[in-house]
Subunit: 145 residues, 12 copies
Amino acid sequence: MATILVLNGPNLNLLGTREPELYGADTLESINQRLSQQASAAGHHLLMLQSNAEYEIIDRIHDAKKEGVNYILFNPAAFTHTSIAIRDALLGVAIPFIEIHISNVYRREGFRQKSYFSDIAEGVICGLGPQGYELALKAALNHIS
Amino acid sequence: MATILVLNGPNLNLLGTREPELYGADTLESINQRLSQQASAAGHHLLMLQSNAEYEIIDRIHDAKKEGVNYILFNPAAFTHTSIAIRDALLGVAIPFIEIHISNVYRREGFRQKSYFSDIAEGVICGLGPQGYELALKAALNHIS
Amino acid sequence: MATILVLNGPNLNLLGTREPELYGADTLESINQRLSQQASAAGHHLLMLQSNAEYEIIDRIHDAKKEGVNYILFNPAAFTHTSIAIRDALLGVAIPFIEIHISNVYRREGFRQKSYFSDIAEGVICGLGPQGYELALKAALNHIS
Amino acid sequence: MATILVLNGPNLNLLGTREPELYGADTLESINQRLSQQASAAGHHLLMLQSNAEYEIIDRIHDAKKEGVNYILFNPAAFTHTSIAIRDALLGVAIPFIEIHISNVYRREGFRQKSYFSDIAEGVICGLGPQGYELALKAALNHIS
Amino acid sequence: MATILVLNGPNLNLLGTREPELYGADTLESINQRLSQQASAAGHHLLMLQSNAEYEIIDRIHDAKKEGVNYILFNPAAFTHTSIAIRDALLGVAIPFIEIHISNVYRREGFRQKSYFSDIAEGVICGLGPQGYELALKAALNHIS
Amino acid sequence: MATILVLNGPNLNLLGTREPELYGADTLESINQRLSQQASAAGHHLLMLQSNAEYEIIDRIHDAKKEGVNYILFNPAAFTHTSIAIRDALLGVAIPFIEIHISNVYRREGFRQKSYFSDIAEGVICGLGPQGYELALKAALNHIS
Amino acid sequence: MATILVLNGPNLNLLGTREPELYGADTLESINQRLSQQASAAGHHLLMLQSNAEYEIIDRIHDAKKEGVNYILFNPAAFTHTSIAIRDALLGVAIPFIEIHISNVYRREGFRQKSYFSDIAEGVICGLGPQGYELALKAALNHIS
Amino acid sequence: MATILVLNGPNLNLLGTREPELYGADTLESINQRLSQQASAAGHHLLMLQSNAEYEIIDRIHDAKKEGVNYILFNPAAFTHTSIAIRDALLGVAIPFIEIHISNVYRREGFRQKSYFSDIAEGVICGLGPQGYELALKAALNHIS
Amino acid sequence: MATILVLNGPNLNLLGTREPELYGADTLESINQRLSQQASAAGHHLLMLQSNAEYEIIDRIHDAKKEGVNYILFNPAAFTHTSIAIRDALLGVAIPFIEIHISNVYRREGFRQKSYFSDIAEGVICGLGPQGYELALKAALNHIS
Amino acid sequence: MATILVLNGPNLNLLGTREPELYGADTLESINQRLSQQASAAGHHLLMLQSNAEYEIIDRIHDAKKEGVNYILFNPAAFTHTSIAIRDALLGVAIPFIEIHISNVYRREGFRQKSYFSDIAEGVICGLGPQGYELALKAALNHIS
Amino acid sequence: MATILVLNGPNLNLLGTREPELYGADTLESINQRLSQQASAAGHHLLMLQSNAEYEIIDRIHDAKKEGVNYILFNPAAFTHTSIAIRDALLGVAIPFIEIHISNVYRREGFRQKSYFSDIAEGVICGLGPQGYELALKAALNHIS
Amino acid sequence: MATILVLNGPNLNLLGTREPELYGADTLESINQRLSQQASAAGHHLLMLQSNAEYEIIDRIHDAKKEGVNYILFNPAAFTHTSIAIRDALLGVAIPFIEIHISNVYRREGFRQKSYFSDIAEGVICGLGPQGYELALKAALNHIS
């Protein structure tokens, strides 16, 4: 049985209400519920955190190491483009992770084209909506087993 | 009666002591007091937050939506140039806001010329000292009424 | 009693008819009228010039020095991004001024992001519509008194 | 019957004498004469202005709106690369226009590669010599009819 | 029953032998076989093309329109960074597609960071190995049904 | 009697169906027919090729030299921005040509602003729709006679 | 007797476990202990903070001013490259400080070459391992006495 | 006897009063007087124009051709960095000229480092104060004789 | 006995007629003949391909692997600057190769300064005319023996 | 007993007289004397060279290899930003070294931000005045022992 | 009586033979002779050095300080664009100097547009041939007296 | 009988010991010996200089002109990227030369991609090891005879 951490960055608590033309009407709660079921069905355990605070995400990553987390699914949201500190936390714990974006960032502002995570991630899934989390979990489970 | 939120970013708690040649001798407290009186006189209500923490500002903006805040006056200070997460919070709640800078950022370091807020703000007031808040409040009140 | 010069750059004579979704339906005449009343009410005198010719604006600034003008409110319009000659005129006479833009230039073409005036202005008001002139006049009057 | 304005920017009064290896031996007068005949033959009316003064071109464009000009043929010459004010005038009056260059600007100095007009023009004709005006007039007449 | 086209760009015929530390030991044949089974199981039909010739890919996309292809899974390989012609073909037929990369292009040469497809794709899956095709097919099938 | 080659690059076979808001409803066939009539009427001969393959265009240009083609009308479409090989073919045969674009490329993506042909073309006609070919043919015929 | 503040930024709590080939096997605790002894031996007092939260570092700097801290030794870690807010805090309190990096940032990713602190620091020590703190403390003590 | 034209660009009418720490206390009148004497002493004739209007300078250059002016001494002031139209006028008449700057432009704002004249001037004299005109006149007279 | 492949990119079939001031009067046929003799004399075997089609060059490189080619001499011509697909083919087969240019590309257009091959080639010979092939063959033979 | 070479680049012979607000009043002689005492006290030997000639520094580094120098303390002064030849000499002999700057180069001209040595140095000490040499020697001695 | 040093950088010993279309047929010897006469006539003393070695120029500048040289006329030739060490020498001795270029560097390669001296020189004279030295000497003598 | 000068730049005296994985185990002496034999065998004379001093290389090039040297083989090593003075020396004497690099500079640091010699060289040979000199000599001898 593996432990997988689903990390969501700033403003993703607004999912379902925030700019629905970009992000859809799904809430983070319902996404997380589906992911939990998918993980349980495969005999694995899911941990979750959404935070608007960079330091909470860093601390959570540090703790993940201590808890033996096997894989991280990470939607860094706006921190994608600004947080070298979270990058360093991920480098520091060396847990494999997939970077996920709900919207297609390549269609948006220029500053959203640069990620501090893509080159150290296992892979990136972008623009496929909330379904992106499920595909990433599938990939993580394949990787683990 | 409208509700207006006055948001001040990092280090603005130092106003009055910090680099007075740039920022003047006015304290944030006295500025806020004058703004409250100006709002009350017009029959409106003022909420305030100064924070050095990006996440507190994001959370405050999320709450503003729930509380029905009508307008935000925002001096993002150093976050002007670095916080895509606050930008996303403002996009997420879609409350109109004016960006304010006490000092003339165009006379300062190159990295202060880039704002993550100006293109999504209603307008920008910059370099006019603490008076900038009062002018912005006046514009907000005109906008609301 | 102070003398204040309101300078408007190229194409602002079209105000009210030109791209109303960007600039509103107010004419320059009505804006100037309101500003005159605001100045008179405060016991001050207003001078005005709108010109499509760079040299007329330069000459007007030179004359302002001779006439003892105390403050300039300046909407440089398209000259914002191209006229070093007007910049030099303002540096030459050393009269304090506020830079005003009716529309939010930060939402527009990349070449509108660069101003030859902002770093030598007292301050900048941008994106608040015709009301921007009135706020600037208020700031100028505060400065003078 | 439509009215078409042929606008020529700075130094084009030198045509025929100026750098003939670049611009040919045709004078502006003879070009204009041929264009007038071409327009008359099609039952339309031609107006013309060549000016070395940016403000005269702006004023002419403003007037064109009042006179009901249907189409503009515009060789902005050196103003191609520097005049945002004329760009704004054309945006302000919203009259369709074709941008014309006699010489092939793509073979010349780097600063001649940037145009403030191409993206708001109907189209661009460049490098085909004085004949470019006649082709543009043909296109304008097709457009109008 | 939907028809899905799996398009593979240049050098992907070498899969299994080419730089296995980057691309793995799976051959394109075995990948395609698995995809066919996955599609059949869901009651859909799969078409396939791998080509080293840009024009064959363009022609195949044009034909896809005529054949009523519902979705394209596209690994453009080296053409990702160079082929505006294929981009235009995809824009021309307006069939939704997912961009797939087997290796994590963000860890490689700078010129591999730029894609002519990402901003017009439904989404992008990158760095997850041959499994990326299966995840993309899953997303496509969800999209169609 | 002169021979003129009309060369059309990738995806132009889709004309009439592809993105009609950009390219109009005219088909390449009907455009070519009109051009043939225009050429015949002037006593000249027209050759045509549309190809999605860069090498076919290069080969056609090489052959043009052998056949004594006097002038080329060339719409390089997406190859405008990517094909140095076609540029070299045109330099190699030294046949004069006009570059044509149906849509106004200056209003489109940044990568469409760069042409590998404009600086070696006789001239450029852009944004005037299918009519651009006819104007170019007119210019070519003037040049030849 | 002087008071010196040793400030350590994000992820430095991982020292000794994180990427030891870059950062060595020393823990922050043992480093701090050695620094305390060095300071005590010289008759001075040491304060310490490591934090993953930008706001805690800002607040700590504000408090340092109130407590009369004479000098700061600062390893900003990932905040080196992103935090204008901490820069502003340091500018606001005007306490002299030395910037320290354990690893040689010049050998690492391009984005680590830019520091928001070096130009306002007294000096910079980089790449000399944990020993860098001791050298910096030595310099600070020389400066104070 | 040769004729030499001394052309001064915008704001140079302010010489003596404008930013004296940059430009000195000499007026343009006194400079011109000294130049006239220097020219007369050498048996030559001097023409002069200072203008804040770009078009007047262009027209003056066109007229210079007709009047047989042999050499131009040109201080383009702010037009140095913006006027391609004056550049084209000078190219059009092909009269040799020396570019003069009173202040050392290399010590000033970045945008003053670019000149549209230096590469087509005979030479450039910069930073030597009003004396620069006299040295240029000396060089011009040497050139002519 | 080794097998060496001589690959020539687009437009090199024009050698001898194309821009002789750049490329000389030698034909590709005569160059290839001399190379064959040089190889035979050393007891080795030469294969040759010139193609204007990128895909043919890619296919030829793939086949070279199967045929046991020991070394490639490659003049990519215009593909030097545009073909990542050929780069990937060469990386995929891992056959050592020398990049050859007949003309000195460093004297030509800026876009010819960038090669997608130089950093993966054994070496580069440039500007020495057709003789460059012979020098490269000599180096290849030294390498093999 | 180790041997340490102290290398000083151009103009450092002026120390004590040159721009004392940047470099202090200490002479190189007195700095070197203090360093010799510090080294002797630790039982080590110090060699020194200051030179304004790049080649002398290169030759000295080559000789250092032959003499078995264990460590180099290097203040490259202006050569920091220009000498790839000295970089290559240091790479060639592979002796560990620390880069030292007396002034804080990060506060100075942009071209002083680039070093050809930092990425190959053990570490960098900058802005701490002449004391920087002593700190570097301390680090070197720690390294050696 | 003042002492003036005339410094000439690398390759200027070739004057008269080197690229005469750029530099003229005058030798350095004859130029120096004329300058000596001009200085003597004004009662001043001239020192001269031409060197191809950067260090000799640095040493000469250091000595100039000791000898009480009042002014330097400096043609840095190729060192203009590369020698920060000479810049530092001039900053170190703080002797006023004029930068001279015989040819018009603005017409030449891009890398010749950047000077490490212009912003610290009194002024610059460029493109006026050997006569530039005489004009500079005249300016220096005016400055001294 | 021709005279050929073999010039080697800084640090090439270390050949055989310096970074052998980059430069091989051959010494400069043995390379030069082989080149001498190759030249003698062809009836020509070889001169040689290796120097770490830029000025010695410049002086040697000046002398080469006087001695009637027919061709130069030049490995500028680190001076490739920094010495405009040597470039000017080569332009000044106008002796044809080939630029040689032992290692493949395209695989190395970014600053090694720029050469001040390639565009004025006859040709460039790079990455083929010491053998590059022999190939260059062969080319030179072909050129001469």
